[in-house]
Protein backbone atom coordinates (compact mmCIF):
# COMPACT_ATOMS: atom_id res chain seq x y z
CA UNK A 1 0.00 0.00 0.00
CA UNK A 2 1.43 3.40 -0.98
CA UNK A 3 0.99 6.17 1.56
CA UNK A 4 1.27 9.91 1.14
CA UNK A 5 3.74 10.44 3.97
CA UNK A 6 5.66 8.03 6.11
CA UNK A 7 7.73 9.72 8.75
CA UNK A 8 10.37 8.07 10.88
CA UNK A 9 11.99 9.00 14.17
CA UNK A 10 15.13 11.04 13.56
CA UNK A 11 17.23 8.49 15.48
CA UNK A 12 16.43 5.91 12.80
CA UNK A 13 18.03 5.99 9.37
CA UNK A 14 15.04 7.37 7.50
CA UNK A 15 16.90 7.53 4.18
CA UNK A 16 17.59 3.83 4.38
CA UNK A 17 14.06 3.01 5.56
CA UNK A 18 12.61 5.01 2.69
CA UNK A 19 14.85 3.13 0.27
CA UNK A 20 13.68 -0.30 1.45
CA UNK A 21 10.02 0.37 2.17
CA UNK A 22 9.48 2.96 -0.55
CA UNK A 23 6.68 4.61 1.43
CA UNK A 24 4.77 1.35 1.79
CA UNK A 25 3.38 1.50 5.31
CA UNK A 26 2.30 -2.14 5.38
CA UNK A 27 5.76 -3.35 4.38
CA UNK A 28 7.34 -1.07 6.96
CA UNK A 29 5.00 -2.28 9.73
CA UNK A 30 5.72 -5.87 8.68
CA UNK A 31 9.48 -5.28 8.93
CA UNK A 32 9.27 -3.64 12.34
CA UNK A 33 6.95 -6.31 13.69
CA UNK A 34 9.12 -9.15 12.40
CA UNK A 35 12.19 -7.54 13.94
CA UNK A 36 10.55 -7.00 17.32
CA UNK A 37 9.33 -10.59 17.34
CA UNK A 38 12.61 -12.18 16.35
CA UNK A 39 15.46 -10.15 17.82
CA UNK A 40 15.12 -11.17 21.53
CA UNK A 41 15.68 -14.88 20.81
CA UNK A 42 18.53 -14.14 18.41
CA UNK A 43 20.15 -11.77 20.88
CA UNK A 44 19.84 -14.41 23.56
CA UNK A 45 21.59 -16.97 21.35
CA UNK A 46 24.34 -14.43 20.67
CA UNK A 47 24.81 -13.82 24.38
CA UNK A 48 25.08 -17.56 25.01
CA UNK A 49 27.77 -17.89 22.36
CA UNK A 50 29.69 -15.03 23.93
CA UNK A 51 29.46 -16.57 27.37
CA UNK A 52 30.70 -19.95 26.17
CA UNK A 53 33.62 -18.23 24.43
CA UNK A 54 33.03 -19.88 21.07
CA UNK A 55 34.26 -17.19 18.66
CA UNK A 56 33.15 -19.04 15.54
CA UNK A 57 29.63 -19.60 16.81
CA UNK A 58 29.52 -15.98 18.00
CA UNK A 59 30.63 -14.79 14.55
CA UNK A 60 27.96 -16.87 12.81
CA UNK A 61 25.27 -15.49 15.08
CA UNK A 62 26.28 -11.88 14.72
CA UNK A 63 26.50 -12.39 10.96
CA UNK A 64 22.92 -13.67 10.98
CA UNK A 65 21.68 -10.79 13.13
CA UNK A 66 23.55 -8.08 11.27
CA UNK A 67 21.10 -7.29 8.44
CA UNK A 68 18.03 -7.39 10.66
CA UNK A 69 18.84 -4.06 12.38
CA UNK A 70 18.78 -2.25 9.08
CA UNK A 71 15.17 -3.36 8.53
CA UNK A 72 14.21 -1.02 11.38
CA UNK A 73 16.58 1.79 10.47
CA UNK A 74 19.33 0.83 12.92
CA UNK A 75 22.02 0.95 10.25
CA UNK A 76 24.51 2.16 12.86
CA UNK A 77 23.95 -1.05 14.83
CA UNK A 78 24.40 -3.08 11.63
CA UNK A 79 27.74 -1.29 11.15
CA UNK A 80 28.79 -2.12 14.72
CA UNK A 81 27.81 -5.77 14.16
CA UNK A 82 29.89 -5.81 10.99
CA UNK A 83 32.94 -4.54 12.86
CA UNK A 84 32.49 -7.26 15.49
CA UNK A 85 32.13 -9.90 12.77
CA UNK A 86 35.36 -8.73 11.12
CA UNK A 87 37.17 -8.76 14.46
CA UNK A 88 35.96 -12.31 15.09
CA UNK A 89 37.94 -13.39 12.05
CA UNK A 90 41.12 -12.01 13.57
CA UNK A 91 40.96 -13.50 17.04
CA UNK A 92 40.35 -16.77 18.82
CA UNK A 93 39.87 -15.05 22.19
CA UNK A 94 36.35 -13.82 22.79
CA UNK A 95 37.52 -11.45 25.55
CA UNK A 96 39.21 -9.32 22.90
CA UNK A 97 35.72 -8.49 21.63
CA UNK A 98 34.26 -7.49 24.99
CA UNK A 99 34.38 -3.72 24.56
CA UNK A 100 32.94 -3.85 21.04
CA UNK A 101 30.21 -6.23 22.15
CA UNK A 102 29.26 -4.10 25.16
CA UNK A 103 29.09 -1.00 23.00
CA UNK A 104 26.89 -2.88 20.52
CA UNK A 105 24.54 -4.07 23.27
CA UNK A 106 24.32 -0.64 24.93
CA UNK A 107 23.56 1.11 21.67
CA UNK A 108 20.92 -1.44 20.83
CA UNK A 109 19.20 -1.28 24.22
CA UNK A 110 19.03 2.52 23.96
CA UNK A 111 17.41 2.31 20.55
CA UNK A 112 14.94 -0.54 21.04
CA UNK A 113 12.34 1.77 22.65
CA UNK A 114 12.65 4.03 19.59
CA UNK A 115 11.92 1.05 17.35
CA UNK A 116 8.96 0.00 19.50
CA UNK A 117 7.58 3.51 19.43
CA UNK A 118 8.00 3.70 15.66
CA UNK A 119 6.18 0.40 15.21
CA UNK A 120 3.34 1.69 17.32
CA UNK A 121 3.11 4.81 15.14
CA UNK A 122 3.17 2.76 11.96
CA UNK A 123 0.22 0.71 13.09
CA UNK A 124 -1.82 3.66 14.27
CA UNK A 125 -0.84 6.48 11.86
Amino acid sequence: MQNSTLTYDSRLDSTFLESIYENDKEDAAFGFEQFLNSYPAQLNELEQSFETGDVNSFRQKIHKLKPTFSFVGLTGVTAKAEIIEKNCQETAEIQVLTDLYLDFKNTLSELIPVVENQFSKLTTQ
Binding site: I20, G31, Q34, S38, H63, K64, L65, P67, F71
Partner: protein
Amino acid sequence: MQLKVIIVEDEPLSRGFIERYCEKLGDLEIAGSFEDAESALEYLHKNEIDIIFLDVEMPGISGFQLLDQMMYMPKVILTTSKTDYAFDAFQYGVADYLKKPITFNRFQEALGKIKNSLNKEPQPQGNLTPDGNLKEIYIKSDGKLTRLSFQEILYIESVGDYVKYITATKNYMALSTLKAVEEKMEGNGFMKVHRSYIVNLHKIKDIQDNTLVIEGKVIPISRSYQSEVKSRINVV
Protein backbone atom coordinates in the same frame (compact mmCIF):
# COMPACT_ATOMS: atom_id res chain seq x y z
CA MET B 1 3.27 -18.61 -15.91
CA GLN B 2 3.36 -19.71 -12.27
CA LEU B 3 6.97 -20.28 -11.16
CA LYS B 4 7.75 -22.64 -8.34
CA VAL B 5 10.25 -21.23 -5.85
CA ILE B 6 11.94 -22.23 -2.65
CA ILE B 7 13.61 -19.99 -0.10
CA VAL B 8 16.70 -21.10 1.81
CA GLU B 9 17.53 -18.50 4.43
CA ASP B 10 18.50 -18.92 8.06
CA GLU B 11 17.67 -15.36 9.09
CA PRO B 12 13.92 -15.16 9.85
CA LEU B 13 13.37 -11.51 8.98
CA SER B 14 14.93 -11.80 5.53
CA ARG B 15 13.05 -15.07 4.96
CA GLY B 16 9.80 -13.37 5.95
CA PHE B 17 10.40 -10.54 3.51
CA ILE B 18 11.22 -12.83 0.60
CA GLU B 19 8.02 -14.78 1.30
CA ARG B 20 6.08 -11.52 1.44
CA TYR B 21 7.55 -10.25 -1.82
CA CYS B 22 6.80 -13.57 -3.56
CA GLU B 23 3.19 -13.30 -2.44
CA LYS B 24 3.02 -9.68 -3.60
CA LEU B 25 4.14 -10.60 -7.10
CA GLY B 26 1.38 -13.17 -7.37
CA ASP B 27 2.91 -15.43 -10.03
CA LEU B 28 5.30 -17.26 -7.73
CA GLU B 29 4.35 -20.38 -5.84
CA ILE B 30 6.36 -20.85 -2.65
CA ALA B 31 6.98 -24.60 -2.67
CA GLY B 32 9.10 -24.46 0.46
CA SER B 33 10.83 -22.11 2.87
CA PHE B 34 13.82 -23.56 4.70
CA GLU B 35 16.05 -22.22 7.45
CA ASP B 36 18.91 -24.56 6.62
CA ALA B 37 20.45 -26.04 3.51
CA GLU B 38 20.18 -29.65 4.68
CA SER B 39 16.36 -29.57 4.74
CA ALA B 40 16.31 -27.79 1.39
CA LEU B 41 18.57 -30.42 -0.17
CA GLU B 42 16.31 -33.19 1.04
CA TYR B 43 13.39 -31.43 -0.62
CA LEU B 44 15.33 -30.72 -3.82
CA HIS B 45 16.31 -34.36 -4.22
CA LYS B 46 12.64 -35.25 -4.54
CA ASN B 47 11.13 -32.17 -6.16
CA GLU B 48 11.77 -29.92 -9.11
CA ILE B 49 11.54 -26.15 -8.81
CA ASP B 50 12.14 -23.14 -11.06
CA ILE B 51 13.85 -20.65 -8.75
CA ILE B 52 15.81 -20.85 -5.52
CA PHE B 53 16.42 -17.86 -3.26
CA LEU B 54 19.57 -18.93 -1.53
CA ASP B 55 21.48 -17.42 1.37
CA VAL B 56 25.21 -17.96 1.05
CA GLU B 57 26.39 -18.10 4.63
CA MET B 58 24.41 -20.48 6.83
CA PRO B 59 25.45 -22.79 9.63
CA GLY B 60 26.20 -26.31 8.37
CA ILE B 61 26.04 -26.50 4.59
CA SER B 62 26.62 -23.16 2.88
CA GLY B 63 24.67 -21.95 -0.13
CA PHE B 64 27.50 -22.82 -2.51
CA GLN B 65 27.88 -26.28 -0.98
CA LEU B 66 24.18 -26.82 -1.57
CA LEU B 67 24.64 -25.91 -5.23
CA ASP B 68 27.52 -28.39 -5.45
CA GLN B 69 25.22 -31.17 -4.32
CA MET B 70 22.27 -30.41 -6.56
CA MET B 71 21.38 -32.79 -9.34
CA TYR B 72 19.91 -30.11 -11.55
CA MET B 73 20.15 -26.35 -11.59
CA PRO B 74 17.13 -24.11 -11.25
CA LYS B 75 17.54 -20.33 -11.58
CA VAL B 76 19.48 -19.19 -8.53
CA ILE B 77 19.11 -15.83 -6.78
CA LEU B 78 21.72 -15.45 -4.07
CA THR B 79 20.77 -13.40 -1.02
CA THR B 80 23.59 -12.20 1.18
CA SER B 81 24.65 -9.37 3.43
CA LYS B 82 28.17 -9.44 2.00
CA THR B 83 29.33 -8.53 -1.46
CA ASP B 84 32.43 -10.74 -1.21
CA TYR B 85 30.82 -13.64 -3.03
CA ALA B 86 30.38 -11.96 -6.40
CA PHE B 87 33.15 -13.96 -8.08
CA ASP B 88 31.83 -17.28 -6.78
CA ALA B 89 28.33 -16.25 -7.81
CA PHE B 90 29.60 -15.63 -11.32
CA GLN B 91 31.36 -19.00 -11.36
CA TYR B 92 28.14 -20.76 -10.40
CA GLY B 93 26.22 -18.89 -13.07
CA VAL B 94 23.63 -17.49 -10.67
CA ALA B 95 20.85 -15.42 -12.17
CA ASP B 96 21.15 -12.54 -9.70
CA TYR B 97 22.68 -11.50 -6.42
CA LEU B 98 20.59 -9.58 -3.87
CA LYS B 99 22.18 -7.75 -0.98
CA LYS B 100 20.20 -7.79 2.25
CA PRO B 101 18.07 -6.06 3.26
CA ILE B 102 16.33 -6.61 -0.03
CA THR B 103 14.01 -3.95 -1.41
CA PHE B 104 10.86 -4.90 -3.28
CA ASN B 105 12.04 -2.98 -6.36
CA ARG B 106 15.32 -4.88 -6.46
CA PHE B 107 13.45 -8.14 -5.89
CA GLN B 108 11.11 -7.38 -8.80
CA GLU B 109 14.09 -6.52 -11.00
CA ALA B 110 15.74 -9.88 -10.26
CA LEU B 111 12.54 -11.76 -11.02
CA GLY B 112 12.07 -9.73 -14.19
CA LYS B 113 15.49 -10.84 -15.44
CA ILE B 114 14.62 -14.47 -14.81
CA LYS B 115 11.24 -14.23 -16.49
CA ASN B 116 12.85 -12.60 -19.53
CA SER B 117 15.49 -15.29 -19.75
CA LEU B 118 12.89 -18.03 -19.40
CA ASN B 119 10.86 -16.49 -22.21
CA LYS B 120 13.92 -16.43 -24.46
CA GLU B 121 15.02 -19.98 -23.70
CA PRO B 122 13.48 -22.83 -25.63
CA GLN B 123 10.62 -24.13 -23.54
CA PRO B 124 12.19 -26.45 -21.06
CA GLN B 125 11.55 -30.11 -21.18
CA GLY B 126 12.31 -29.96 -17.47
CA ASN B 127 14.95 -31.98 -15.71
CA LEU B 128 12.69 -34.96 -15.43
CA THR B 129 11.46 -37.49 -17.93
CA PRO B 130 7.70 -38.07 -18.18
CA ASP B 131 8.05 -40.99 -15.79
CA GLY B 132 9.67 -38.76 -13.20
CA ASN B 133 13.30 -39.77 -13.64
CA LEU B 134 16.09 -37.24 -13.90
CA LYS B 135 17.56 -36.77 -17.32
CA GLU B 136 20.50 -34.51 -16.60
CA ILE B 137 23.02 -33.74 -13.91
CA TYR B 138 25.26 -30.80 -13.05
CA ILE B 139 28.82 -31.59 -12.16
CA LYS B 140 31.42 -29.26 -10.73
CA SER B 141 34.44 -29.54 -12.95
CA ASP B 142 37.23 -27.02 -13.64
CA GLY B 143 35.68 -24.57 -11.16
CA LYS B 144 32.31 -24.36 -12.87
CA LEU B 145 29.06 -26.27 -13.02
CA THR B 146 28.62 -28.18 -16.23
CA ARG B 147 25.35 -29.72 -17.32
CA LEU B 148 25.53 -33.23 -18.68
CA SER B 149 22.48 -35.00 -20.00
CA PHE B 150 22.34 -38.65 -19.02
CA GLN B 151 22.09 -39.47 -22.69
CA GLU B 152 25.60 -38.18 -23.41
CA ILE B 153 27.34 -39.93 -20.50
CA LEU B 154 28.90 -43.21 -21.62
CA TYR B 155 30.30 -44.31 -18.30
CA ILE B 156 31.78 -42.96 -15.07
CA GLU B 157 35.09 -44.06 -13.67
CA SER B 158 36.49 -43.67 -10.17
CA VAL B 159 39.94 -42.06 -10.16
CA GLY B 160 41.28 -41.60 -6.62
CA ASP B 161 39.33 -38.81 -4.93
CA TYR B 162 37.70 -37.90 -8.24
CA VAL B 163 35.22 -39.37 -10.65
CA LYS B 164 35.63 -39.07 -14.39
CA TYR B 165 32.55 -38.64 -16.56
CA ILE B 166 33.23 -39.98 -20.03
CA THR B 167 31.21 -38.70 -22.97
CA ALA B 168 31.77 -39.25 -26.68
CA THR B 169 33.43 -35.84 -27.04
CA LYS B 170 34.99 -34.96 -23.71
CA ASN B 171 35.90 -36.25 -20.26
CA TYR B 172 35.09 -34.32 -17.07
CA MET B 173 36.82 -34.76 -13.71
CA ALA B 174 34.82 -33.91 -10.59
CA LEU B 175 35.65 -34.19 -6.90
CA SER B 176 33.23 -36.87 -5.73
CA THR B 177 32.90 -40.55 -5.00
CA LEU B 178 31.41 -43.29 -7.12
CA LYS B 179 29.04 -44.08 -4.25
CA ALA B 180 27.63 -40.52 -4.28
CA VAL B 181 27.23 -40.65 -8.06
CA GLU B 182 25.55 -44.05 -7.84
CA GLU B 183 22.98 -42.70 -5.35
CA LYS B 184 22.14 -39.77 -7.63
CA MET B 185 21.89 -41.76 -10.84
CA GLU B 186 20.14 -44.82 -9.54
CA GLY B 187 17.06 -45.66 -11.58
CA ASN B 188 18.10 -43.58 -14.57
CA GLY B 189 19.56 -46.27 -16.79
CA PHE B 190 22.90 -46.34 -14.99
CA MET B 191 24.36 -49.21 -13.05
CA LYS B 192 27.47 -49.87 -11.05
CA VAL B 193 29.24 -52.86 -12.58
CA HIS B 194 32.58 -52.72 -10.79
CA ARG B 195 34.00 -50.86 -7.80
CA SER B 196 35.51 -48.36 -10.26
CA TYR B 197 32.79 -48.11 -12.91
CA ILE B 198 29.19 -47.01 -13.37
CA VAL B 199 27.93 -47.51 -16.89
CA ASN B 200 25.08 -46.16 -18.99
CA LEU B 201 23.22 -49.38 -19.81
CA HIS B 202 21.91 -47.85 -23.05
CA LYS B 203 25.45 -47.42 -24.35
CA ILE B 204 26.70 -50.98 -23.97
CA LYS B 205 27.75 -52.53 -27.26
CA ASP B 206 28.83 -56.03 -26.17
CA ILE B 207 28.79 -58.04 -23.00
CA GLN B 208 30.82 -61.10 -22.18
CA ASP B 209 30.79 -62.87 -18.84
CA ASN B 210 33.03 -60.48 -17.00
CA THR B 211 33.47 -57.55 -19.36
CA LEU B 212 31.35 -55.14 -21.36
CA VAL B 213 32.27 -52.75 -24.15
CA ILE B 214 31.20 -49.13 -24.55
CA GLU B 215 32.59 -47.16 -27.50
CA GLY B 216 35.55 -49.51 -27.73
CA LYS B 217 36.39 -49.31 -24.02
CA VAL B 218 36.44 -52.68 -22.27
CA ILE B 219 35.04 -52.36 -18.77
CA PRO B 220 35.27 -55.14 -16.19
CA ILE B 221 32.12 -56.51 -14.54
CA SER B 222 32.61 -57.72 -10.99
CA ARG B 223 31.30 -61.20 -10.31
CA SER B 224 28.79 -59.83 -7.81
CA TYR B 225 27.18 -57.62 -10.50
CA GLN B 226 27.12 -60.10 -13.40
CA SER B 227 23.63 -61.52 -12.86
CA GLU B 228 22.13 -58.06 -12.21
CA VAL B 229 23.64 -56.69 -15.43
CA LYS B 230 21.98 -59.51 -17.36
CA SER B 231 18.66 -58.92 -15.64
CA ARG B 232 18.76 -55.18 -16.49
CA ILE B 233 19.23 -55.62 -20.24
CA ASN B 234 16.85 -57.12 -22.79
CA VAL B 235 18.19 -60.51 -23.75
CA VAL B 236 16.21 -62.34 -26.44
